[in-house]
Homo-oligomer: 423 residues x 2
């Protein structure tokens, strides 16, 4: 009978989804533990750098070691995760967790301007891929397990499980979510997050900072102000263009340094020297390292951008330049945290200009630049919801989708975009 | 140059999206006004029925008039909206706003157990379609304008714009969101909502009720309890199966009444008599009409389901039976509100059984049954976020996606499902 056939097909689907979800658990536990180690290690080396500021002078050397390690281990591209999801037989990913870990720590020890969560994602994808290889999984499953590894890492690194589950699915093919992979990915990101918490590592810094700061504003009932919506649209356009500028500049640096400089090991050394020069030019350490929280009262950071006057007019541009040089010249660590910094400070500055609350615009800029950069407006909207609450979701969604449209992919050469793929 | 070509293509896309968004504004204003009229009219006829309880005896007559009107106007199917989105030349939709409006009021005047927001969606789709026909739009644009009409109606009827924008896109093709239609749909749902508010009609009943009730629970910081997550998964399974039962029963009633009863006008009369008999059997008016708020202290309603003890063990089943008879025997009004009632009461009962907070489970049941019934787990998650806040989004998403998988489409005959389409 037709009905019973429909049912048995559906039960097959449910059984498969359950099996996939169970399959992601071991790799998610390993990923969550690895991410906990990464987060605490980055925190430790950052403290070390703040204690011994002269470590910045070793940045060129760190660049050289990064280059040497990656060459030695035959690691070439930054966008290894997506390669791993797209082509099951790419085979590079399962070996890349180690090198990514070490080179990210090197960047942060010497003050390179980069992230750490992206390294976590790469490690997650790598571990997922490793498990897929160990269990001798078939092609479809390799994609599911690799995606769920990234989801586990995202959930662990940011503490926002739904965004974590959506990210690998949306990043691969914008707007087309394979619903049967969503439950395994959600399981993975929750397990990753719980594992990371188990080790005593709580990636709560964003939540705590923003919840307390935003509470007075975000406590009202749901309300749409048309004028505010237009201003948010403006921020969406600016965010899209800035994320485009980020990847455009990084791509150009990569392309031209590779073309002009024939001694490849010289490239990261020059990058390190440029960062040191910029540091002396601006006379501030605000744009080095992660920039999530700031040391002093006057310093600019992601946290400070959520207060009115917490960022200078050109803070977003300087962070962009520092990060683009760091990453474009071959350092590792990834671009997510720098992008969030750029978005939050851009939002802060535009908030003053357009006379709107700084915390709302910092939050919207924070997610909109991410949406434009990673081509993941849905995930970015969920990041806003999970970090800052659901009250202002209509502004989040509006800004993220506009940023997505105003950030065309500049990909004159493969490998120019770090995490994103063509629209 | 390749880069400039990419840019000009992207600017073409942006221009088109902007043009589409502007195009949706007039139809959204008309839709928002129409929905305001519908909501206030249903409220008025419901008050009339509560004042004159004997109006229930006219339900068979109302059924006959409904049948006569729809036959006279050549309106056959319930799922006219989706036909309109799928086939631009279907051409039925633009005439159906009037009949849907009148027949929905008839159902509510005489105590039929149905919704009103679905009628709003049909009216929105119909008005969008009418505008597309007036402006002589091409095929792609007809789809965009029809979708945005539904979005405007959803935004206006429920006051939740992001869910409203997602619903028509997700309902047509699960998991595959055309991102370029999202900004026009979001514009439409915001305009629809603002228009409805302009006429003094605020669909805030859900928000006010739930916010106040849920506040103590939902005020905590983000936290995942693995045991609670498992219980939520159980509710997701139950919600999926119940939504499946709803459409299965409604479909069977339609199929067999149509097969057995040759005098078609007799079908709604029998349906009306069955509702009257059930009313006397249960001796409660709780399952008649909308059931959003309750008249007495002891009555069961969507609002009461958010309090511990606010629903009886079999409330969900009785509402299901009342709604399935009302809709299966040919009355109009739609199934969204009955489904929300069933979900909230089911959640309430399971909350007592599993010893969890009633308000959380009522909220999760509310959206999960909708997710399973409409095949729109994403939209349902956003409904949860926009109505109840973003704190518990991981539970919402988990339950909605599980419900989606446990609700296979039973479609032995076309037209059996009211709003949903095959997975």
């Amino acid at each position: 009978m037709q009905l019973s056939e429909k049912y048995s097909a559906q039960f097959g689907l449910i059984k498969r989804t359950l099996w996939w979800s169970l399959l992601t658990i071991p790799s998610s536990i390993v990923t969550g533990s690895f991410v906990a180690l990464l987060l605490s290690s980055v925190d430790r080396v950052t403290s070390t750098r703040l204690y011994y500021p002269w470590l910045l002078f070793f940045l060129p050397l760190a660049g050289f070691i990064t280059w040497f390690l990656l060459k030695r281990l035959h690691e070439k591209s930054d966008n290894i995760i997506l390669t791993g999801i797209h082509y099951a037989d790419a085979g590079v990913t399962r070996k890349s967790a180690g090198p990514v870990f070490i080179t990210t720590l090197l960047t942060h020890l010497c003050g390179g301007s980069a992230g750490r969560e992206d390294a976590a994602l790469q490690i997650g994808g790598s571990i997922g891929s490793l498990f897929a290889w160990l269990f001798r999984l078939e092609t479809t499953l390799v994609r599911v397990v690799t995606s769920s590894g990234i989801a586990a890492a995202f959930g662990a690194a940011f503490g926002i499980p739904v965004s974590g589950a959506l990210f690998p699915l949306e990043a691969v093919k914008s707007g087309n979510f394979p619903y049967n992979a969503l439950i395994p990915c959600l399981t993975a990101s929750i397990i990753g997050m719980l594992t990371c918490n188990f080790w005593g590592i709580h990636p709560t810094q964003f939540q705590v900072i923003f919840f307390s700061k935003l509470h007075p504003l975000f406590a009202g009932t749901f309300h749409i102000a048309p004028l505010l919506l237009l201003k948010v649209a403006g921020l969406g356009v600016a965010s899209g263009l800035v994320s485009c500028l980020f990847f455009g500049l990084a791509g150009w640096i990569r392309y031209y340094t590779d073309k002009i400089i024939s001694l490849k090991w010289l490239i990261p050394i020059i990058g390190g020297i440029l960062i040191i020069m910029l540091y002396y030019l601006l006379a501030t350490p605000d744009y080095l390292g992660l920039g999530v929280t700031s040391a002093g009262q006057q310093a600019v950071s992601i946290a400070s951008a959520f207060k009115a006057g917490g960022a200078h007019t050109w803070s977003w541009w300087w962070k962009l330049l520092f990060a683009v040089i760091t990453l474009g010249f071959g350092f590792r660590g990834g671009e997510i945290i720098p992008l969030l910094f750029i978005g939050a400070t851009l939002g802060n500055v535009l908030a003053t200009l357009l006379q709107v609350p700084a915390e709302l615009f910092a939050a919207v800029g924070f997610i909109a630049v991410f949406a434009g950069a990673a081509n993941t407006p849905f995930t970015a909207t969920f990041i806003g919801i999970e970090l800052f609450g659901g009250q202002y979701v209509v502004y989040y969604a509006f800004a993220c989708f506009i940023a997505y449209f105003f950030s065309p992919v500049i990909q004159s050469k493969p490998g120019h975009r770090f995490i994103a793929i063509p629209k």
